[in-house]
Symmetry: C2
Subunit: 333 residues, 2 copies
């Protein structure tokens, strides 16, 4: 049996079973990030996110600083999803020895910009030579004891809501794949390109949601909305239903979809790497959350509901419910 | 100008200049590990260490569990060098999707074994598909406030001492390169092979040295004794002199050197990846340190002296001093 047969998540399950329990590890393998209690005033949140040239990014699609920015944003988004504030960030980078120094500076500069934009500090890492560019970001965050948002807190009867709007990164990738990297910076393509190259991890919103006590579960949308709803459903032991007509599609996606003959809603439902936050909440609390400055400035939209269940996810298309395999991005598929 | 022109350490210096200061980051880029003050009873020590198939290890030289064990040991050795106790460890692993699941289990099992052997816990990580095996270990450790051992504490007039003995990993690599992976497990080759495949990060000794208050600087021997002495010299603003005749050469190295016509002392001086600890101390305190159980069981040998200087390193061969370029392992060279 090969890794591709059990998939990324099957392998992670096997690793989790091999690893021992530790009372200091409140949440270990299987959430957005680990949650540690090392005795301080805050709990510690730790996550790692690796990207490899050719598999996760292409250097002809993004400038080096944009590659660095996107790589850092993946880990920072995990910190945001736990309701934590980024502290120290560490970056392992693999680069070809023949790379111009200025290019390497730009890539690391993108990492540092993304980290500092959300109040973190690049505090270390490792540098190795590699044939293809590798960036592995490890981020530490702090969250007041008891406030961390986990995937496991969704309850039947709750609503699902998402910050911002979805689909732009997938739209940008589709455009780049279809029309090539030299596609003119047309008006209609600019918004999705910008959102793809300059993601904004929802650190302020995540912190506000956690501090409010009104969000009972959270995950960042990195594998795709449906799959990430499935992660919440699985960890919470519920059924998640995404109501397709409610899903906020990011600016520019519809125009891009028309241009290349694709479906913008599919990007929003299954695209991934949106780095928005998907939360479970009581619907009655939506206005209170939208009254929070940090939430209001990015928006928060109802996208579904939580039902009694056993970890499944379904799509509700105008009243027709379709049970879904938990698809989306699998690194080994 | 290319990365290979400025080298790994030149590039790290550039990154350090780009990164902002942060009062919570007591020691940032440039020591074995970062030292953080997040307000708890202990300071936090964080390090990352990445290994890439073909550059840092070969799968025909080591079994998958040995590769995992070595990769984890590199990061755990950095934790040991700061005098800290490992807490949570995170592992990013890149594997080909066609790898058998059992092989992947063995590799991760090696990581977990190494981590648990020194009291740590694998608490998370990331899994990606890759053409070549990649392992990036991020380790968190705890050290009581004020006890962390840094590279920067060496003072003129002090002695340099090293735990254990050096050269076995370099000897093992030389044997494998010279005679091939199918070399019979001869009596003379077994000790260096074993030390190479099963490194023992000096966590207990490092903790005891830090708690004693008698070691003023430390680094783990990963780049090679001379180069690592150079790191202490540079960060402490002193001159480090390695006294060649004192350097403890690991069991089996001399026999292997005779067999393949090499120099065992060169392996001990410049081989690297020994994962022993090099410390600066007042010579008068050596007996007190050797009286500590955790130090006595691995040994501690005088290997040189600290003189007034400006960051240089020299080799003293029977009274003849040779100023050395800070050679050793450079990832981009």
């Amino acid at each position: 049996m090969q890794l591709r047969d059990i998939g990324e998540f099957g392998f992670i399950d096997r690793i989790a079973r091999m690893a021992a329990d530790d009372p200091a590890v409140l949440v270990g393998i299987g959430d957005d990030a680990a949650l540690l209690d090392l005795g301080g005033p805050d709990h510690l949140v730790v996550t790692t996110d690796a990207m490899l040239e050719g598999r996760h990014f292409r250097l002809d699609w993004l400038a080096p600083e944009e590659v660095g920015r996107r790589a850092a944003s993946g880990a920072l988004s995990d910190i945001a999803a736990m309701g934590a504030t980024p502290a120290a960030v560490f970056c392992t980078v693999g680069l070809p020895p023949e790379w111009p120094v200025e290019r390497a500076d730009a890539l690391l500069g993108g990492v540092i910009d993304a980290v500092q934009a959300v109040g973190g500090t690049l505090a270390g890492g490792d540098v190795i030579a590699a044939d293809r560019v590798l960036i592995d970001i490890m981020a530490l965050g702090r969250v007041p004891c008891g406030q961390a948002l986990l995937r496991s807190g969704a309850r039947p009867g709750q609503a699902l809501a998402v910050t911002g709007a979805l689909g732009a990164p997938a739209a940008a990738v589709a455009v780049l794949a279809e029309l090539g990297p030299d596609v003119p910076a047309e008006q209609t393509l600019a918004p999705v390109r910008r959102r793809f190259a300059h993601p904004e991890p929802r650190v302020r919103a995540g912190r506000a949601l956690a501090a409010s006590g009104l969000a009972s579960a959270a995950i960042d949308v990195s594998d795709g909305l449906v799959q990430d709803a499935g992660h919440i459903a699985e960890r919470s032991g519920v059924r998640a239903v995404i109501e397709a007509w409610r899903v906020p599609v990011a600016e520019g996606c519809v125009e891009v979809a028309e241009r290349i003959g694709a479906n913008a809603l599919t990007w929003a439902l299954a695209g991934g790497e949106d780095f928005e936050l998907l939360i479970a909440l009581d619907e009655a609390d939506l206005p209170a959350l939208l009254a929070l400055q940090a939430v209001a400035e990015v928006g928060l939209t109802m996208v579904g509901r939580v039902e009694a269940g056993t970890g499944s996810v379904a799509l509700d298309q105008d009243g027709r419910e379709i049970d879904l395999p938990r698809g989306g991005w699998d690194h080994f598929a």
